[in-house]
């Protein structure tokens, strides 16, 4: 039983990272009906930029760990947002009025391009994060060991997701994003500049993905140029589980996938972990392609 609860905590931690990445897929899909295949690479980029800045900022301990991580997070979010914006301008905007397939091919191309840029800049070998950054603290809670780093990753992801949720549901711009996702034409009739909304989701999504990359770096301590492939696929699966285009769905889907994976790892076999995740993807696509959440209220004629 104790083992089980520990697995749950572990699953929620991994799941919260999936959820954070999944939000980028789902927001872009919601507004553009396009899977941004380069999103996984923006996640990797976030990890590497985090690696660079965290190394620099904590060096010589000018900054305490909290300040170093905080500053790094801002820099990571800012630079991946910029990269996302640039990606939209170069790879997607020129194709907005062309065939859907053209945009998909462009997305795949952007993904390969970014992955190779990251490899050329930082090399193909694994890079290690500064491991002594967060003190190795382990608490015993109800007989469970919960490490500081695990709690940090989970809570940070949850706080970011809650902020996004509030932004989407409580602000004027959030309202515009939702409107553009439901009916672009109607949103334009309301005076919403849909081009700006698209630009906005291509800033928010990559920023969240980049932050997820930083969290993975801090959590596992090592990063690699093609880590975005598997994380991207998993997060995409999470987005589909929650219903692609659905923001709370992506959060829920991420957490569920994280749980499924760690439980599979613990009670079935580590070798089957990834396979089971994709069995979940295929099952959802076959049996409930709109995701596990109740379908949106249909418009009446």
């Amino acid at each position: 039983m104790a083992h089980f609860i520990e697995q749950i905590i572990y699953g929620l931690t991994v799941g919260s990272v999936y959820a954070l990445i999944a939000l980028g897929y789902t927001m872009v899909y919601g507004v553009m009906k396009l899977i941004n295949f380069a999103h996984g690479e923006l996640f990797t980029l976030g990890a590497f930029i985090g690696f660079v800045f965290l190394g620099t900022l904590s060096w010589g301990s000018y900054f305490g760990p909290a300040l170093a991580i905080g500053l790094t997070a801002i820099l990571v979010a800012g630079s991946t947002a910029l990269a996302g914006h640039f990606l939209e301008r170069v790879a997607y905007r020129p194709l907005r009025h062309s065939d859907r397939l053209a945009a998909v091919v462009s997305a795949l191309g952007a993904s390969i391009f970014l992955q190779n840029v990251i490899m050329v800049v930082w090399g193909a070998q694994y890079r290690a994060f500064n491991a002594s950054l967060l003190p190795t603290v382990v608490w015993r809670i109800f007989g469970q060991s919960v490490s500081l780093v695990r709690l940090f990753v989970f809570l940070t992801a949850v706080i970011i997701m809650l902020s996004l949720y509030l932004f989407i549901n409580r602000t004027r711009l959030g309202l515009a994003i939702r409107a553009a996702a439901i009916d672009q034409g109607a949103a334009r009739l309301m005076g919403v500049d849909v081009s700006r909304v698209i630009a906005l989701v291509f800033v928010i999504g990559p920023a969240l993905g980049g932050l997820a990359g930083l969290l993975v770096g801090i959590y596992y301590g090592q990063i690699n140029f093609n880590m975005g492939q598997m994380y991207g696929l998993k997060a995409f699966t999470a987005a589909v589980i929650g219903g692609i285009g659905n923001i709370p769905g992506a959060m829920l889907g991420g957490l569920l996938l994280g749980l499924l994976e760690t439980l599979a790892d613990a009670y079935v076999s580590g070798a089957w972990k990834d396979a089971l995740a994709f069995v979940a993807l295929i099952s959802i696509l076959i049996f409930r392609p709109t995701g596990i959440l109740p379908e949106r209220v249909a418009e009446k004629l």
Binding site: R172, L175, D183, G185, A186, L189, M190, A298, E299, K300
Partner: protein
């Protein structure tokens, strides 16, 4: 109509969809305060005309002027900012959003302004919407959705309101009440272009009317005269 009296003017508007022309050189003008109706069968180009005015479809030829400014070159959100809003065909309310969120979106262009008085005005106009304030728009009845679409279009405080088939699919009693409300909105100073298949009701309400047939303007006259025009009676008013 003298130049200075025109709020909106369409000059030789040509619109085509994928090589097929939907409007073949339409010209029309609307004076401030007027209620003008555009009649015609399905596919006559009525909705296309409204979408071109709102900037959602680009005319291939011709020009659109609003208060003397050329607007057919502007993006749709700037057209809204200038004071033209639309309750589109099929209502197109945001189903997974609440009634109030839909209304707030209607006031999207009025950044930083208090929408409170406008919400109140819409709820005054359509008390049903106040009862449904927190409900998802997709769960409303057709009539309520139409009220929401019109209310939403009023939130931006338009000078010109475009209404596309507001009576479509509604019970006769409801149509009557919606048309009365439209008249009231017009009397409060909002210029209206009303696209309708329900020609009789629209002509009773309107000052003037235009009749389109497969993208061509075939008739243009005072509403009363159109009501009594034998050609219109046969083609659009039935033999009641």
């Amino acid at each position: 109509m003298a130049e200075t009296e025109k709020l909106l003017e369409l000059k030789n508007l040509v619109v085509s969809y994928g090589g097929v022309e939907a409007l073949h050189g339409l010209s029309l003008a609307v004076a401030p305060g007027e209620l003008v109706t555009i009649l015609g069968a399905n596919g006559a180009g009525k909705s296309t005309t409204l979408m071109a005015i709102s900037g959602l479809v680009r005319p291939a030829q011709g020009e659109i002027y609003f208060q003397g400014q050329r607007i057919d070159v502007l993006p749709s959100h700037e057209v809204v900012r200038l004071g033209i809003t639309q309750a589109p065909e099929g209502r197109r309310v945001f189903g997974p959003m609440t009634v109030e969120e839909n209304l707030r979106l209607g006031g999207f262009t009025r950044h930083g302004q208090d929408l409170g008085p406008d919400l109140e005005r819409v709820y005054d106009l359509f008390p049903r919407l106040l009862e449904r304030q927190g409900q998802m728009a997709g769960t409303l009845s057709g009539g309520e959705q139409q009220m929401l679409a019109i209310g939403r279009a009023l939130m931006a405080r338009p000078k010109l309101l475009l209404l596309d088939e507001p009576s479509l699919g509604l019970a006769p009693l409801l149509v009557k009440s919606i048309f009365e409300t439209i008249k009231g909105i017009n009397e409060s100073g909002v210029t209206i272009i009303l696209v309708e298949q329900n020609a009789r009701a629209a002509l009773k309400l309107a000052d003037r009317g235009y009749v389109l047939d497969v993208g061509h303007l075939v008739l243009e006259d005072q509403a009363e005269r159109l009501l009594n025009n034998p050609q219109v009676r046969d083609a659009y008013l039935g033999t009641r």
